[in-house]
Symmetry: C2
Subunit: 638 residues, 2 copies
């Protein structure tokens, strides 16, 4: 019976070269759904705690979901997961684009990779089969040439390539996975895990169409989604400006991260805004598989020191801020070039920006000198320094490059002398470009994301503050009343908890935030209909949100096994300090309020109040009783 997914998972042991196909039961698929849910399931079952994330024992999982590839805008993302070399905890990153659907068309819902290849390799998946091939000729190449080489070698220009770039080969701890040169599984260093396994790329090509349980219903939902996207205000903005629309929106609110999060207003904001991009360097609006939102930007800078090729896409909001406002850089061409370099090398632009910001602040505070920086004034506002810094990181240039490539947590520890103050990270992962001082839910989100500071692993702040027309959109969750942006009381925690389930569900189903979130087009009450139309399951929002809750809890267990606890669920000191300037001048996050909110979150999750350890009963409720063995000693140890 058509069910929209293959029911097959590819197992690859790179050490032995053995390839197998596994067919999990329907109950496993329905319980974990895909993406982060399915990946957590396998990681917890098969990965012992304490292993070296860059050793052959790590397990790397590429997972689409039961609905990835459904021809409805936004059902396109897939997950790469492993133990993170950046945080030492649960690692996971999602990407849009085309690779997730292609993997399914090629016959598999997920790929689970063990071991380490004896020499540089890539994996070629097509028609329900797979082959480990030599990457001797692509090792060391930038992503563009590498992709080209693979396509030539396999004789198919339509092959989709997900790859670690040279940065991944060099084990830069925040090396990412780059898909088709521009879609990134950006966070937690999954590219480094590929590099550590001598696995440069996965190439996939599928010619089979997925068969869905209820094709008529699928058409109806696809049509509805298309109509909603064309009419819904926020999605219209996304089409017009992409995520760069946020530059001006956040600057106006006083929370555009600027000068390493000292302030939230940037004098050069307009110069790096989505509006400016649209007027100047924007070459095309692009989109992901079957998606009508088309929020992706491809930019071209045709001349000058920062000439940029549109082949590598263009900077998202996060990058405009991390390589721009954060570093007080207002040169859109330089930022675009930085973005291109990150995509060429396979680097996470968020971590890159924060690492450079850290180094700049160290330089300004006298911890680094020109002797460390090839004579460059490595200061805020210096675009050339930023571009150089990216090269240094990618190549692990001895000294400052190699240092930044470790991520700011390790770097700060090595530098010492109080450098921790300039290292903006949580659990070792660098902060995304959102300032919790103007939206406190984002603070919970950063502190509680299992991957460290992350704006995709836990909810964006936007829906917390919903009001008016927007509020009705989250009403099916039972969230009926607006909560002030800077509130950190019970109502904020309540909203946060439910939306955390939503975001987690999205990462398990591969749903894009920009198409179906509480803010975006596809309404909450259509999610279960869609999953049902694809799979034939008589599912519900209850069952789906419990998948979200289950996945949050699995990631928590993963991290507890690795020694994480309450001490790690916090924010960098800087965010407790007051903002300088702008409409929120003087506002920080209140430590007591934050701590109380954290406790309430633990309790709301059925975790213990002190360390956030899931109780045995809560595990039972979530059909996770099998995890109890892994953490019961932690509980006794209290």
């Amino acid at each position: 019976m058509p069910k929209g997914y293959n029911g097959k998972i590819l197992r690859v042991d790179l050490t032995s070269g053995e390839i197998k196909v596994e067919e999990p039961s329907e109950v496993i698929y329905r319980t974990y759904m895909g993406g982060g849910g399915l990946a957590s399931y396998y990681l917890l079952r098969e990965l012992p705690p304490g292993i070296d994330p860059l050793g052959p024992e790590n397990i790397l999982i590429f997972a689409s979901s039961v609905i990835t590839g459904a021809p409805v805008s936004g059902m396109v993302r897939y997950t790469v997961a492993a133990k993170s070399p950046l945080t030492g905890g649960y690692g996971e990153a999602e990407a849009g684009g085309f690779f997730g659907p292609e993997l399914k068309f090629a016959g598999f819902d997920a790929v689970i990779i063990n071991g380490k290849a004896p020499k540089p390799s890539y994996l070629w998946i097509h028609g329900g089969e797979a082959e480990i091939r030599s990457a001797a000729e692509i090792w060391g190449l930038e992503t563009g040439p590498a992709q080209e080489k693979i396509r030539q070698e396999l004789g198919d220009a339509r092959i989709r390539v997900a790859q670690a770039g040279p940065a991944g080969e060099k084990l830069v701890r925040f090396a990412c996975v780059i898909n088709e040169l521009k879609h990134a599984n950006g966070r937690t260093g999954m590219g480094a895990v590929m590099g550590s396994k001598n696995l440069r790329a996965i190439a996939a090509r599928g010619k089979e169409r997925l068969e869905f349980h209820d094709p008529e219903k699928m058409k109806e939902l696809a049509k509805l989604q298309a109509e909603l996207i064309s009419q819904w205000g926020p999605n219209k903005v996304m089409r017009k400006l992409g995520t760069p629309n946020l530059v001006m929106a956040l600057n106006t609110q006083g929370i555009l991260p600027t000068r390493n999060f000292y302030t939230g207003v940037f004098a050069g904001a307009e110069k790096i805004s989505g509006e400016r991009m649209a007027e100047t360097i924007l070459k095309s609006e692009e989109g992901c598989y079957a998606c009508g939102v088309r929020c992706k930007r491809a930019v071209e800078v045709s001349e000058g020191p920062y000439a940029t090729s549109s082949e590598y896409g263009g900077p998202e909001y996060e990058t405009l801020s991390s390589l721009g406002s954060l570093l007080c850089i207002d040169d859109l061409a330089a930022i675009s070039k930085g973005n291109e370099l990150c995509n060429r090398y396979g680097l996470d632009t968020i971590s890159v920006g924060v690492a450079i910001g850290f180094a700049m602040e160290c330089f300004e505070k006298g911890l680094f000198t020109k002797a460390d920086t090839e004579g460059i004034e490595f200061r805020m506002g210096n675009a050339e320094a930023m571009v150089k810094g990216i090269e240094w990181i990618a190549k692990r240039k001895k000294g400052i490059g190699d240092l930044m490539a470790e991520g700011v947590k390790i770097a700060a520890a090595r530098v010492g002398k109080g450098a921790e103050k300039y290292a903006l990270h949580i659990k070792g992962q660098e902060l995304p470009m959102h300032d919790p001082r103007g939206k406190t839910g984002q603070g919970l989100s950063f502190a509680l994301s299992p991957t460290g500071a992350d704006h995709i692993e836990a909810p964006h702040d936007t829906p917390f503050a919903t009001a008016g027309a927007m509020l009705g959109r989250i009403a099916p969750l039972g969230l009926l009343e607006p909560v002030p942006t800077r509130d950190l009381g019970p109502q904020k925690v309540r909203n946060y908890v439910y939306l955390h389930f939503v975001w987690s569900l999205f990462n398990s189903l591969g749903i894009c935030n920009f198409t179906a979130g509480p803010v975006w087009a596809f309404p909450i009450n259509k999610w279960a209909e869609l999953v049902g139309a694809v799979t034939g399951w008589d599912t519900s929002l209850w069952e789906l949100l419990k998948v979200g809750e289950r996945t949050v809890t699995m990631a928590r267990v993963f991290n507890l096994r690795e020694g994480f606890g309450r001490k790690d669920d916090t924010l960098p000191d800087r965010l407790f300090e007051p903002l300088e300037g702008g409409p929120l001048h003087g506002k920080g996050i209140d430590r007591k309020e934050f701590d109380d909110a954290l406790t309430m979150y633990y309790e709301a999750m059925g975790w213990d109040s002190q360390e956030g350890i899931p109780t045995k009963g809560k595990l039972a409720e979530l059909n996770l009783a099998w995890l109890d063995e892994m953490i019961k000693d932690k509980r006794r140890g209290k």
Copy 2:
């Protein structure tokens, strides 16, 4: 805009005679929905702990729900709630029939009654108005004549009357509320609370039709439900035999409560079965407002000592067992007479049967003698004794009658000499006719129902053991795999928790178990559609089950305030002992397993592991932060 409910709550102060109308916000209606949810909300807000349930300080609430009266089979029930004189904790009982819808047609969604009338009174509600009237002429009458008198006095034969009978006037602790002589808000002594307030009855008549948000959708759902009811096997059995079908079903499984729960097989089962009833004394199949199930039985015994009038309906399964097998009585006419008497006097048949069983066991063990029983051999199997016993209870006959009227908990304490062993109750409320030794989920249900042993306040066991076709019905809850009937591990707890939310939701929405349960016709994924069609709310199964969870938690807080805790969440010793005879001979409930399951339940609910006190964070998550003040001292006191 049409919304299916009035938005009006009637406030009656019997002491002062003041009558007011209150209009709660839509958020209050949507958060608490009605029935047990709305009643808990008002009780917790307005009733201080520690008051005498039979004093004027108690608050008595009659609450329909936002969907009560929707013309779809089964959406008909309403709740009577107050602090229970039987348990000293949360008191609540639902009834079907016609009164709930009538109350809404008369202009009010609920009635909140404070104080005590200076003299016998009844309340007359019609056309959005209300009047306190003298009950001087009906005080002391049996329910039939009382109803007749009220109808005559008000000049309308179609008035619906909910009343305490003479037993309520006498403050029998398990006196119930009787609607139209045969539908009972049976448990927790709500009739006694009416009696204590000098409120004999509420008469309602409404001529307005409710207007629904989406009448077309309502028609579609009503049609669907009618079709399902006519086709679905379990509902066909209900139509044919009513709840009495359970006599043979449970006897075959070896769990028909017999001889005060010593055994689960009854030699006389066939004689008191639904099948035998259908062949002999059944006069008509009856139903509730707009319901196509028609599971109610009216019986007639035309001659002999147990001549019975069909005006008072007929015994349900619970009554066939509580006045039959439990007491080793196999005389269907005697049981029918006993049922009629209970309805005439306003007595809960379950508590009556267990109270008589207690007295019979005391007699057999020599704790009572013929001197206590007017010379009657008050032994198991004596039908005459049972019928006499009912009279004695209703009239609080000095000695044994007055004693039984206190409920078995108080009675056993008074008798002493080990009589507690014969008193089958939890939290002071007598056990319903289900034996947890053959279906352990029912044990959790009895122990964890906030009202004490109750088979409607927490889930029936049936869905725990679902398999095959039935299992698919609870799949939208994420419950995908069968759990053995006698299991008490994590899977059983998981199923129990979700189904507890379902049962609680039913008691807040006024949905009948026999039309929309996980077992019965109306599918889980239609519940939110129905609530939406009635009210216009874009709701979901998530939001609805959270209403269920919220209500369970409110009731927990209510009981904690009154001093209840883990010690009260248990079963009578007899259920831990092995069953005698039948297919489950030798099987008891394992105390350790039970205790572990209890702990898991507390934890799954976000309550503390020891005493089951909801955490501050869990209260926040459920939008119940306002309750934290009430229990935080209990938490500190640990």
